[in-house]
Amino acid sequence: MSAVDAVPTSVVRGYVAALMAILGRGLVSLGGADAVAREEIHGFPDGFTFEMKVLPSGPGFRVRKEGDGFVPDRGEERPALSIGFKHLRHAFRVTTLLDDTPRAIADDRLVIDGELALAMRINRVIDRMLRLLLPRAFGTTATTIRLFARMTTPP
């Protein structure tokens, strides 16, 4: 059994829920705080909805593009873009940086539903947000560097 398998379900669920909440709130506060992110966010159509969650019923978050940034969204209809983790433990591996996002995609841990160009863009926005948030939270570790290096916003 790996160290990850030994973590109790309740701890995994609580941790992933907290990280999802941080990611969702981070996206909402990002547009006003960072010019690079704002430029990327402008590339989404107005009203664009994005959801990230653990399948089938969460935890997760959902946001909508409005003006220069994202706002929380509580709509029930199918989002324009969704990224779903197939299992709680897969989300745990990614949010603890044991797996980076490209590895999770390559290993079929995620289901992306929507236009791929928008998925690549949201990936860059999330990376930008992590770039701003994570050094304060975790320090600049080799793992975070690897995650950050995946995508770079074009000039």
């Binding site: 490209p102 390559a106 290993d107 079929d108 791929l116 160009a117 690549m120 770079t152 916003t153």
Partner: protein, 395 residues
């Protein structure tokens, strides 16, 4: 390095070899179908490629209940809707697609509409929207490159918004792929070269990508071996049945490989080149492949070195020191491009195409970063990296 977890799936029945077309009526009856609809394009029709299929059906006491023979090279939801309407009008119960990527993708769209009894394709875009098996769907490829006969995706343009809709679902996989040597014998030299390089790129990217796995590796290396050994033969002797059949099988095998381990950097750049400069997809692959391999060398030297075996054979592989194999493999692909250029003028540089301007390269690089295939590249890719690859591919 293999992934820590992988999935592999290919339920498509392969009907391959001499008289493969003659198996179609029997296979359709096994599925309870007797009124197939033909979907094809004017080029296939004009080349007389439908004759052996029509005869095979007639001798098997079956005929097309309807035929849609005017699929354009860049299909659209409008075409799909018209085709589905014809299907319903003639009470068809199966689809036989005869052609290349556009015909096959159109047929996948038609199968969605007629199976789901729907009028619009848009609600089924993305992945996971289809929840049940579709109608019997046979594919007869007339090019040896796209691998669409074994893939679960379709790209169809929505003309009013001018967006390309992507559909992915295991239910889009054809019921059967029919590889009959008669169907690719008349493929023109340049198209033979470009489609072979398309299949080569599928196999190479499947072998070096992040999602590579032992099963897709087996298909990929076998496909590369067949292409290397047969593409020049088919160029020099276009009616060489054995070489044509080897290329057709290679394209299908490469299709199985990349539909399970995906493509990466070459396709991300190639998609943009094709869309912006209106170059044939296979040509785009050929233009970018060696430079993308050079870029990935630092992350995938061992895997690229292993490509030397299927590319050049056991003798060359054994004589080449391990540390020289990666560069030797890339050099082999460059030589293949030179050989193809000598025979049919398949361009080797962006400049040679006459359809790309150098001032377009920055925009091409920027847009390539939005392509989902980049997620599977073994090495992180930034704007400057893509621009560098395009600059090296320029001349």
């Amino acid at each position: 390095m293999t992934t820590s977890y992988y999935e592999f799936f290919c339920p498509v029945k392969i009907l391959a070899g001499t008289s493969a077309l003659e198996h179609v009526p029997f296979e359709l009856r096994l599925l309870g179908a007797s009124r197939p609809m033909l979907v094809t394009d004017s080029g296939v029709k004009g080349a007389g490629l439908l004759d052996p299929l029509r005869r095979a059906l007639a001798e098997g006491e079956m005929d097309f209940a309807a035929a849609f023979d005017d699929v354009p090279s860049d299909s659209s939801t409008t075409v799909v809707t018209a085709c589905a309407s014809l299907y319903r009008q003639h009470r068809c119960d199966a689809i036989i697609a005869v052609g290349g990527g556009s015909v096959i993708d159109t047929s996948k769209g038609v199968n969605i509409l007629v199976s789901e009894n729907a009028d619009r394709l848009e609600p089924f875009a993305g992945s996971g929207a289809l929840k049940r098996p579709l109608r019997p769907f046979f594919v007869v490829p007339t090019t040896a490159g796209t691998g669409s006969e074994v893939t679960l995706a379709a790209v169809i343009t929505e003309p009013t918004r001018e967006v390309k809709l992507l559909f992915t679902s295991y239910f889009l996989l054809p019921t059967a792929a029919v590889l009959d040597p008669r169907m690719t014998l008349t493929l023109p030299p340049k198209l033979t070269a470009a489609t072979a390089m398309d299949a080569m790129t599928h196999a190479v990217e499947a072998f070096i990508g992040l999602a590579k796995n032992p099963l897709s590796d087996a298909y990929a290396t076998a496909a590369i071996r067949k292409i290397s050994a047969n593409v020049i033969v088919a160029m020099d002797k276009p009616r060489d049945v054995a070489a044509r059949f080897e290329l057709a099988q290679a394209a299908t095998m490469a299709g199985i490989a990349f539909s399970n381990s995906m493509t990466s950097l070459v396709h991300a750049i190639g998609h943009e080149l094709g869309a912006t400069c209106h170059l044939h997809h296979g040509t785009c692959m050929s233009l970018v492949l060696p430079y993308a391999l050079e870029y990935n060398l630092s992350a995938r030297a061992a895997e690229i070195g292993e490509l030397l075996l299927p590319l050049e054979g056991a003798d060359t592989y054994a004589k080449t020191p391990v540390e020289e194999r990666p560069k030797a493999a890339i050099a082999s692909i460059r030589r293949l491009r030179d050989d193809l250029h000598a025979r049919c003028d398949l361009p080797r540089t962006l400049n040679e195409t006459g359809q790309v301007r150098r001032d377009q390269l920055p925009a091409l690089a920027r847009r390539s970063l939005d392509d989902g295939a980049l997620s599977y590249n073994p090495k992180a890719v930034r704007y400057e990296d893509v621009l560098g690859i395009l600059e090296r591919a320029w001349a």
